[in-house]
């Protein structure tokens, strides 16, 4: 092997290394990019008369530097973090809603019962009675508004789910396509570094939406599973997700269907934005609405019963104060609109100045038996305000907990990302140093060729 050949192999190796370094530098800001390294080794030597004579350098490959364990861990933590994040998006809104002084049921109850006391103070005053009717209406309105706001959140969750399903389908298509290219490349004997990065990036994006399980195949393709083992991408095929209507609730809401038969897999999915949205739906939105319904029903039942015990200004027994048909937060409404129909008087010595029933109605505010949680025995019950306080504290605690856990997960994600970056990320200073190193190698290799030329020339000139 001639010196010229050795020189050109060195030139080629330096050139390739310079190209890889340039590739690294140019992709410094490409998300998901793993730095690459040109691997080189000595060419097989010639055995000549008892000696091995070196044959220069050869490129053995261009490696992608990464740590699969860290990539997997990052994926898991990302799913967990984005689940808490997705959950918080919704639970924070409920938290705000319940705590808002202009919307809170607590303020509505206070204003309403104060107006009942004013009627007790002055049962003949039409003005006081009018205020009580208005406050009753406003209280019902607060319930209606709060329920419709929660319903609005339910629709936001629907939108999140359908947007996520669309994203998942795009991602799974990409992963499937990359699987094919990668396995073909590998079969042909090439390491498709950039395609592998791209696929990892897509799977990472997928894990922000839903928690995934990734299994690598011998041919380099990956199988991606979601939920409890539903295959999303299996080799070169993929399964489409779809949004379907879940008719088990009224109004129907969005669920996630799997495959052509659109089996509902919503409950099986966890992690990521989807997991967060589903969790927020069951743990916050649904439970808050249910608890508000309990409170609304208790108010209607207790108040109507108390009101029915009295006598109105016309001398008739009290009719329903709230509409008896509306026993949920969305349907609670006033029944009476005439101030004379407020039954402030009791049945003993009924009269316009009798305020005994108004006092009894006002006493419901602090009555601890009005909201029955368990008919028992023993009966477990609490007051209207305690029930609302319990709703507020449940959501607040859950939100607070999610917020703390989100911070923890975000910390973990950032830590793992840094570790992964420390393996795979491009460091420009390092690349600059490499640039100098390989440039020098290139210059030296050029010298080999020059020298070999000089040597050759002196040989020629000898003749």
């Amino acid at each position: 092997m001639s010196m010229l050949n050795i020189g050109s192999s060195a030139l080629l190796a330096a050139q390739t290394s310079l190209a890889t370094t340039s590739h690294n530098i140019s992709n410094v800001n490409t998300p998901g990019y793993s730095r690459q390294r040109t691997d080189q080794g000595p060419q097989p030597a010639n055995f000549e008369g008892g000696y091995y004579i070196g044959n220069g350098v050869g490129i053995t490959g261009v490696d992608r530097i990464f740590n699969q364990f860290l990539v997997n861990q990052l994926r898991t933590y990302t799913s967990a973090e984005s689940q808490q994040d997705g959950f918080l998006t919704f639970s924070k809104q409920v938290d705000d809603l319940l705590g808002s002084s202009s919307l809170s049921i607590s303020g509505g109850l206070e204003a309403f019962f104060n107006s009942v006391q004013e009627v007790a103070n002055d049962p003949t005053s039409i003005a006081a009675r009018q205020v009580m009717l208005t406050q009753g209406d406003l209280l019902a309105n607060r319930f209606n508004t709060m329920d419709s706001q929660l319903g609005e959140l339910d629709r936001q969750i629907d939108n999140t789910l359908s947007a996520s399903v669309k994203d998942i389908n795009v991602l799974s298509q990409g992963i499937k396509d990359l699987n094919q290219s990668i396995s073909e490349s590998l079969a042909a004997g090439y390491n498709p570094n950039d395609l592998l990065d791209k696929r990892d990036k897509l799977i990472g994006d997928l894990s922000e939406l839903v928690s995934v399980n990734v299994v690598e195949q011998d041919n380099g393709a990956v199988n991606v599973f979601i939920g409890n083992g539903q295959g999303l991408v299996v080799g070169n095929s993929r399964v489409e997700l779809s949004t379907i209507a879940d008719n088990s609730t009224n109004p129907p809401r969005t669920a996630i269907g799997y495959g052509p038969s659109q089996i509902n897999i919503t409950q099986q999915l966890s992690g990521g934005e989807i997991g967060g949205a589903i969790l927020a739906r069951t743990d916050v939105v649904d439970s808050t609405r249910a608890e508000l319904d309990v409170l609304a029903e208790s108010i209607v039942t207790a108040f109507n019963t108390a009101h029915g015990n009295g006598v109105d200004l016309n001398g008739n027994a009290g009719t329903d104060f709230f509409d008896a048909a509306g026993t949920t937060a969305s349907t609670i409404s006033m029944n009476i609109t005439d101030t004379r129909l407020i039954a402030a008087s009791s049945t003993t010595d009924p009269g316009v100045g009798n305020n005994e029933n108004a006092l009894a109605m006002a006493a419901l505010q602090t009555d601890k038996t009005t909201v029955v949680l368990d008919p028992g025995p023993p009966v477990i019950s609490r007051s209207f305000n305690d029930q609302y306080g319990s709703i507020v504290s449940q959501v607040a605690t859950r939100t607070n907990q999610a917020s703390v856990s989100q911070e923890t997960q975000a910390g973990l994600v950032s830590q793992i990302r840094q570790r992964s970056e420390s393996v795979s990320g491009v460091n420009l200073d390092e690349e600059a140093a490499n640039l100098i190193k390989f440039q020098q190698a290139y210059q030296a290799a050029s010298q080999i060729i020059t020298v070999s030329n000089t040597v050759f020339n002196s040989l020629i000139n000898a003749f």
Partner: protein, 301 residues
């Protein structure tokens, strides 16, 4: 450990964002003056706040109720005082009329004066308050309690009560039958107006010294005056109780408001210190970012 260029940028960025986030939170707290912005900031505190707000609201309502009770009791007391004064005057005139030295004519004059006073007394018993409600007709507050000619009582025995604390209901009226239909020497209870009218009729007819229009009349007047004096004592006791309750409500309201403020309100000194620290932290993070970003081997190539 190897650090990637992106990590350095990311770290600098995260530091700035975190500082900004904390700064924004403190800023919100300072501008609203509230430590708790949403219940999740402090779930236990938030529920305590709800409870305290309700109790303060209720206590405020009790104070309003106490105002109403006080005003009604004062009106009733004032009315009864006037009624007592009139009955006292009638009694004095009756003593004078019963004096043997009086002529029929002067008795006639006294009878007329007593009649006038009796009319005023009936009017007082039929007093209405500022809302047009009769003070002395029990629960039948839209019905005039005493007929102005027959003196029959048309009210009932209802006593309206107002809640001035969780455990205290105060009665704010006295039914008229207890006050003006009183014991007589002869036996059966009779409206004092009737007793007075009977007396003046006798005086006008010149019949003096026959029961019950003799010394018995004075005794009957005493019974009536005692009844209204008793009522005024009861009212005075209630006024005192309401006043005491008002003070209790005030002090409990004060302590609840203080507790609420401790839970809900911001400690400004602490928050401002925090704000300064955080803005210094943010500035430092920004400077570090710029400094570190400037470091590159490429600068020397």
């Amino acid at each position: 450990m190897r650090i990637s260029t992106n990590s350095i940028t990311q770290q600098g960025l995260e530091a700035m964002l975190r500082q900004q986030n904390e700064l924004a939170k403190t800023q919100l707290q300072v501008s609203s003056g509230k430590r708790i912005q949403t219940p999740s900031d402090d779930p236990i505190g938030a529920v305590k706040m709800l409870d305290l707000q309700r109790q303060i609201g209720l206590s405020q309502q009790y104070q309003d109720n106490a105002d109403v009770a006080d005003s009604r009791l004062s009106t009733t007391d004032g009315t009864l005082k006037s009624a007592g004064d009139i009955m006292q005057r009638i009694r004095e005139l009756a003593v004078q009329a019963l004096n043997d030295t009086n002529s029929d004519e002067s008795r006639q004059g006294i009878a007329e004066e007593i009649n006038q006073l009796n009319e005023t007394l009936v009017a007082l018993a039929n007093t209405t308050d500022s809302n047009g409600e009769y003070l002395f007709s029990g629960y039948q507050s839209d019905v005039q309690p005493f007929d102005t000619t027959t003196y029959t009582y048309n009210g009932d025995g209802g006593q309206r009560q107002l809640r001035v604390s969780d455990g205290y209901l105060v009665a704010i009226n006295e039914p008229g039958d207890d006050l003006f239909i009183t014991q007589t020497v002869a036996g059966p209870n009779q409206a004092i107006f009737q007793t007075i009218q009977d007396f003046t009729t006798a005086l006008s007819s010149g019949i003096v010294g026959t029961a019950p229009n003799d010394g018995d009349f004075l005794a009957n007047m005493d019974y009536a005056m005692d009844a209204s004096l008793d009522a005024r004592t009861r009212i005075g006791t209630r006024q005192n109780a309401v006043e005491q309750q008002r003070e209790i409500n005030d002090s409990s309201q004060f302590s609840m408001t203080t507790t609420l403020s401790q839970i809900e309100d911001l400690d400004y000194a602490e928050a401002i210190t925090q704000l300064n620290l955080q803005s210094a932290g943010l500035q430092a993070a920004q400077q570090v970012y710029v400094k570190v970003q400037g470091l590159s081997l490429f600068n020397f190539l």
